[in-house]
Symmetry: C2
Subunit: 427 residues, 2 copies
């Protein structure tokens, strides 16, 4: 933990530095897994499940019986909660459907874009220390709304060979049936290249450990699209004296519990504000179940005092955080200063965990500064847009000369001829 | 050239096969260029311009005087044509701006997405055999409409050290001033890492040869976003007896003149239709200036007879072409069968070259089957969408229990605490 007061702009690069991810050493290991699965298929997936996760998975596809068993293991209270989250996420993502509008750019020249679902998608849901059924909601809901025909879900089974029941309940609620018991790079390989059990897909989504991330990068070179490059989760907070320090502290701790590599950056307009937050962090952290992880990740936490709010937002934009909380009374006005961020939480009652689960926004967001050029997952991520154009003979007459002149100026005769031949032929 | 009649589905994979691009061998060469430019900067860019293009470029930035000189060299007729194309492209892309809609997912929980321009973008415009000022229109117009603050354009100078005047005229018309005289991998490196003359950008767009493509792939691993993976240009045509064979032939030839590696696939419902098209190809190809290139690329041309129109579109969708012409009378109805394509041209008067230049749609499109998961360039490509949420105390009360239960079920206590602490604090 470090408090930096009024840093010079030259210091900013140090403040916003992310941990260097060295995945060159991983590439050999992951590359071998990809090749094996591509060549051998299911048997190879099953072997890697045993080797890496110590799990025997004879059949990869989750059975109807397993779905039924799972449903009995989830409390009604939790089912209700998941249903509410689903409804909110559906409302927000459903509103992202774009209407098809035809533009007549010149009389007789009609152009439009059609949103067409990506036919086959793969969703990776991490298992491990936390069963991330919320991620299944965040990826599964827009995939279903978009109308993707094949939605394959891979998630690792526990030591008992079973998948977490809440994940299965969530899958069933979304109408997803292709749930496969495998995690790690072997799961990504199976969805990229296809095996007997797991069909290949056009785009792969979802967070994962460094093996999964590296596998996604490698298969993307083979033309499989991926949602976005991934890195450790991040939170930045802007706070002033109108913040509630205990709330900010709770948000920092919730970010910190994600993993020892979680990133937190707090910018406040005075040292007092930061000290009040730190006092609360100290008090609240004692009773949390993941306090060992929290302790480690808090060591990377950076606190910066910047009196000038413009400067503060310049630094925040340079950082381009995955999550940004504006913990102030005038959060709505400050929102206009945000140029680069994944998802933004305005005011004292907009906890990050609300967006992680149930406000309706997506929680699959760009990390590592990628918010400068990437958006988080949305309905758009499951759709591609095909442009169409239809020209009448009149339309072609209207733009024909333009096309001819431009084609000739680019030295492309045949392009010009394709216009001329159409216009010379009187019908 | 090959005519395949009623192929079995097993043969489809062969029919839709693309040339294998082997860029592993390129990676060493390109990797070295990237490292050099990253370390040495402008001098390295200038040296590579000399080494690869034989061009002396002392100052990389195009001067005001060069812009003025260029303007004098472009005919008024061509200026008028480019202006018309610009207007159409602006109309089509301007209509893609999304309105901000706030969704109240639960009472007191407000969520919205804001479209924010990608602050810094780089456009690569190939030089070489054809000065592609049309590509500058296709990339520059949406970049300006999106509101990108820094728009750097790199394009190689000719042997005389000058940039094609039509490219400079087009740049000036779009209000683009940062035009740099460099091409190849060194241009991509400069835009990715920045030099004294050329500032670094967040996303790089544009087609190029295999060095440029490889460089884009490599810098994308360093977190610079790129528009899409690139491959040789492609055209597929569906034709039946209502097509005009001479028009289809002209379109095939215009595709073929792009380069010896251009891909063409024609599917027709009878052998007669194909033979009529081939007869026209023979006749028209004689007088074209790029007939050597055309002859080579026509060798890769595949003609398939499939009587069943459903089958034909299944094969077309498997191919997922960059450009698809539906050369039939009922093109509008057949349009609904298109699942995967970059841009579609409906009916006998919708020449591909109309879309290449002036209909209004973008001509930067996914090749190599990437249309299964990628869209062509649009306004969206220059924008990222940031999600915002604002919860009132009431809003948090309404979804608080849901968040708590879900967080606890995922084993994330601190996430639940961030809600509890806000709801316990009575104000």
């Amino acid at each position: 933990m470090e408090i930096i007061s009024e840093p010079e702009v030259q210091q900013w690069l140090t403040i916003i530095r992310r941990p260097q991810l060295n995945n060159i050493t991983l590439q050999d290991v992951v590359g071998k897994i990809l090749r094996d699965v591509k060549e051998v298929g299911d048997t190879s997936v099953i072997n890697y499940n045993l080797q890496f996760d110590g799990v025997k998975t004879n059949g990869l596809l989750v059975t109807d019986q397993e779905f039924e068993e799972a449903e009995l293991l989830v409390t009604d209270e939790l089912k209700k909660a998941i249903t509410m989250a689903k409804n909110n996420i559906e409302k927000f993502h459903g509103a992202q459907l774009e209407k098809e509008i035809t533009i007549e750019t010149t009389p007789g020249v009609f152009c439009w874009r059609r949103s067409v679902p990506i036919e086959k998608v793969g969703l990776y849901i991490p298992g491990g220390s936390a069963p991330l059924f919320s991620t299944l909601l965040m990826l599964g809901i827009p995939a279903v709304l978009a109308g993707c025909k094949v939605i394959n879900v891979c998630t690792p089974a526990g030591k008992d060979g079973k998948i977490n029941p809440v994940i299965l309940f969530t899958a069933k609620m979304l109408g997803l049936k292709n749930i496969f018991k495998t995690g790690g790079a072997q799961a990504i390989a199976a969805m990229a290249y296809g095996t007997k059990s797991i069909s290949s897909v056009h785009k792969i989504f979802g967070p994962g450990n460094q093996y999964v991330t590296c596998a996604k990068q490698l298969v993307s070179r083979d033309g499989i699209a991926i949602d976005m490059p991934a890195g450790p989760s991040e939170l930045a907070v802007y706070a002033n004296e109108t913040c509630e320090p205990s709330f900010v502290a709770a948000d920092l701790l919730s970010q910190a519990e994600h993993g020892a590599d979680s990133q937190v950056l707090v910018i406040a307009n005075s040292r007092d504000v930061i000290e009040n937050i730190l006092f609360e962090v100290e008090g609240q952290s004692k009773n949390l179940s993941r306090k060992d992880i929290i302790e480690k990740s808090l060591q990377n936490c950076r606190f910066v005092v910047l009196k000038d709010v413009g400067e503060a937002f310049n630094l925040l934009n340079e950082y381009a955080p995955e999550h940004l909380i504006i913990a102030t009374g005038n959060a709505d006005q400050l929102a206009d200063k945000v140029m680069h961020a994944g998802s933004v939480f305005l005011g004292n009652y907009s906890a990050e965990s609300a967006g992680d689960y149930a406000s309706g926004t997506n929680h699959t967001l760009p990390t590592n500064g990628y918010a400068k050029a990437y958006s988080g997952v949305s309905l758009d991520s499951f759709i591609k847009k095909i442009t169409f154009q239809k020209l009448s003979r009149e339309g072609l007459l209207n733009i024909g000369k333009t096309v001819e002149l431009m084609a000739e100026a680019e030295g492309l005769d045949a392009h010009a001829e394709a216009i001329k031949i159409r216009l010379n032929l009187r019908k």
